[in-house]
Amino acid sequence: MKAFSVLTPGSYTTIQDQGRYGYQQMGVPISGALDTFAFQAANLLVGNHKNTAAIEITVMGPRLEMAGEAGVAVTGAEIGITLNDQPVEGWKSFRVKPGDILDVQQVKAGCRAYLALSGGIDVPEVMGSRSTYVGGKIGGYHGRVLKAGDVIKCGEAEHPARAREIPSDMIPDYPAEIAIRAIPGPQDDFFREGLDIIFQSDFMVSTKADRMGYRLQGPKVELRKGAPKSIISEPTMPGGVQIPADEQPIILLVEQTVGGYTKIVTVISVDLPKVAQATPGDTIRFKKVSLETAHSLYQKQLKKMQDLEEILARQ
């Protein structure tokens, strides 16, 4: 059914789900929601499966005219939301009806917000996913960002009768100084002092920060004497911290498949949402953790999502 039409699109608004897996070996990046926690929370609030396609909003949100009855929730970055000019809160579900005007404004803290609708955004699956990959012009709405005049559909669904909300202690805050945990490698052996520099310095997020990666500015992360400046191209992982020729780190994200520069450390999975919420000018400080610690944090995060599903189902 018709869900909404786009009055103004916002700065970079796309349809995303959990990502497109199995095709990285063909040069197709995984794409998908960058802040997986906020994305999944938005879906759970409107009674969807946690990985249902939703809208990813970047910095400036869209203005939408709703076309059907549905449950809606906006999560992630702290952002002004109005429904027919009346403020509504984030991290809580609310109902909309045809003709309602939903306006998502500009972020106050954080970078990305997620808008989920009961029934999920209905666009064709492309290679197993509805995620938009703008570079490859696939997925989402015709493989591109939303534009004014687009009419978006959603699946038919029973939305929860009562409003749901995320418990306040589970809502993250988005400070301008961000601690991000990382594991050394895959090429930590190419560095010596560089490892001290990466774990002991503040790096500023530059304006070159998008779904491909975040370029940082700070002290030079020098390669060990005699280490080659580049490597034979190899696959990249979201979270890999690449050191290019100018020795300024880039945190690689979900729209990259291969690269020929060394990766000194890799951000742990549960901290990738923090990267997704960083904006230009924010400060990042990397904190070293072991693989074992990262794996136990991963398990804890899974448990936290299960708990959240149960809490919301009871509301």
Partner: protein, 236 residues
């Protein structure tokens, strides 16, 4: 032992979901064949908890679900397979013919490539169509093949200023590499021609025509044939 091939695979930790395995430290067909064989074996019989297997020039990345497996378990599994590699049937690589209309509006830099090497344009085309190029890796954009085997007579540096827009199907040269842009993107390779064949068609049951380890042979075509194949591709 073959040149360049490590006696024992080397492992690198690529975050909490990635295990990178290196089989050599050179760009070499034997090393790449080992990578391809291991990737194929894993595709046939993947252990639980593997979400992606990504072969590149000399390394293989395994992306895993840490709630199911971990690098210690994966390394054990890999050793078992490596031992069985000789007994397992690996399908032979295929050769894919790619028709290319060289020069003109499709290959704006072919005259530059020819002049740089004191060759005629016809000779550039002949040299470019001769080899069966090995696809070492697919990446950068969907279906972009990184090919080995370009004639030394055609090695040409990248453009000093990359183009902001390279059309879909463009065939280019960058130093000792040649490749094809399956989707329009920015790019700095010297463009010598264009193929009308859709190398990435997300709507097809198999969106791709080849994978890493296969081979590509270019065939020169006229502008008329380019137009005819283009039409057929559109109809599909």
């Amino acid at each position: 032992m073959q040149d360049g091939l490590f006696e024992n695979a080397r492992y690198r930790i690529a975050g909490d979901r990635g295990l990178l395995i290196e089989y050599g430290d050179v760009i070499d067909p034997d090393v790449n064949n080992k990578v391809r064989s291991m990737a194929m074996v894993m595709a046939q019989d993947a252990p639980e908890g593997i979400t992606e297997v990504i072969p590149t020039y000399r390394s293989l990345l395994i992306v895993y679900d840490p709630s199911i497996t971990n690098p210690v378990k994966l390394q054990e599994a890999l050793k078992t397979w490596e031992a069985r590699l000789d007994d397992i049937m690996i399908p032979p690589p295929k050769t894919v013919e790619i028709p290319v209309c060289y020069g003109g509006e499709f290959g704006a830099d072919i005259a530059f490539v020819a002049e740089s090497h004191n060759l005629t344009v016809a000779k550039v085309i002949e040299l470019h169509c001769q080899p069966e190029y090995l696809i070492y890796m697919v990446g950068f954009t969907p279906g972009f093949p990184f090919l080995g085997g370009l004639s030394e007579k055609l090695h040409t540096p990248r453009l000093e200023t990359p183009r902001t827009f390279v059309p879909e199907g463009s065939v280019g040269i960058a130093n000792d590499q040649t490749g094809i842009y399956p989707v329009a993107s920015p790019g700095g390779w010297q463009l010598i021609g264009r193929t009308p064949v859709k190398l990435f068609a997300p709507g097809r049951p198999n969106p791709f025509l080849y994978q890493a380890g296969d081979r590509i042979k270019f065939r020169p075509i006229s502008a008329e044939e380019y137009a005819r194949i283009s039409e057929q591709e559109e109809d599909q």
